[in-house]
Amino acid sequence: MIQIQKTRRVEALTGNYAAAYAVKAADVDVIAVYPITPQTTIVEKLSEFVANGELNAELIHVESEHSALSAVVGASAAGARVFTATSSQGLELAHEILHIASAMRLPIVMAVPTRAISAPISIHNDYGDVMNARDTGWVIYIAASAQEVYDTIIQAYRVAETVNLPAMVAYDGFLISHTVEPVELNNEEEVRRFLPRSVRPYTLNPKRPVTMGPLASPDWYYEFKYQQVLAMKEAYKVVKDVDALYGEKFGRSYGVVETYKMEDAEYAIVTYGGAAFGNAKAAADIARERGIAAGVVRVRLYRPFPTMDVLKVLEGVKALAVLDRAIMFGSPAEGPLYKDIATAMFMHGVDKPAANVIHGIGQRTMYVEDMYKIYTMLRENPRKEVVFMGVRV
């Protein structure tokens, strides 16, 4: 007999364990398991749950991450609720299937504790892996705390199953995935009521046989890609609605963008992830003490990009710095979030000094002191340029 947790309680959990608890609460059917640092403890915990009879799911101990994503594609196509997790090289190996999963409109949820990509090999945290997957048609959340990881994974199932798109929940590898904080866990019966099993448009079933994954000639291919474009636009609204509904039912909601002291801020750091946001907030406090009207913006929903929300919170700002933790080589500016924000600003006639600060690459420590320097730089000499902070040149 599967024991469902029927009360709310608070536990001290790492980000990864919080993810595992969320997957358990969501009554997932099939989980593809493959180890890679820093994701492994998620699937270890899930394996424990299954072994203890707390989670009624099939674990497929696949032989690679490419097969991990392929297996959950198959299981999802057959109508199951699925989960897998990966990072860095695993995400890269599965890359081909990322496009296929979203184009086949399967509501897969995947946790990605982020990690730098080879070479040289690094197990430490930066956002190179998720940023490399940003255009694959997945809904992408970037969570900043273990509590948010727990809540977001549950929300992601509802969003994915509503718009028929897969969803990724990314968060700092090690810095969030392996650090402990108090996490409030919901009554699992209520979570299951929040995530009812919907009737999927198409599944693999001999009673209603369909063909999935055909060959599309030039006369047909484009229309299916455009369907994905429309689905992404719909996803933006659904993400907000589900988050609000979650807030009503469980008392916690996050929006698509989180702000800190932005009401009267003149200088803002815009970033993602827990470590960068946390240190930027500490730096903003110091800046405020020293008379700089500093604020911080954290982008929580990365895809679809919440353009209007971001522009809105930046309205009163004189100059901003976008703090990126990934390098997109050869780009006009190497930071991926910066590129999105610059495009958003350009398309909506917003012209203000915006610098791109690249930091925290390969988990290079982002000192609060560094972040404070960003504010002074914005106040004294804000330039539209890329600054590689923290690297020895």
Binding site: R105, P201, Y202, V210, F224, Q227
Partner: protein, 103 residues
């Protein structure tokens, strides 16, 4: 002929109608057409067995062939026959003749 719009198509490029290649007649592929000479056919079923298109059908009935009576007859549904000639090649009595397709 205008093709359907993105919003009119099933999502994810799913094809919901099984066996819809039946709409596509492949008769135009062939240059040779198989003709079964029923009087030489001994109902061995090999042509039906081996046809790659599955376009040779078995008809039940009473068929008089010389002094023998059969309860089946094999007929080629020419809509899908690509003229490969496997049926003629395998026929043990050479009852199937490949004749040039007429335009």
């Amino acid at each position: 002929m205008s093709l359907p719009k993105a919003t009119e198509l099933p999502i994810g490029a799913v094809i919901p109608e099984p066996g819809s290649t039946r709409r596509n007649l492949t008769a135009g592929w062939r240059t040779l057409r198989p003709v079964i000479h029923d009087d030489r056919c001994i109902r061995c079923q090999l042509c039906w067995l081996y046809c790659p298109e599955g376009t040779i059908v078995e008809r039940k009935g009473v068929f008089q062939v010389g002094n023998r009576t059969y309860d089946v007859k094999y007929e080629i549904v020419y809509d899908y026959c690509k003229g490969c000639g496997i049926c003629a090649n395998e026929c043990p009595t050479k009852a199937i003749e490949m004749v040039p397709e007429t335009p």
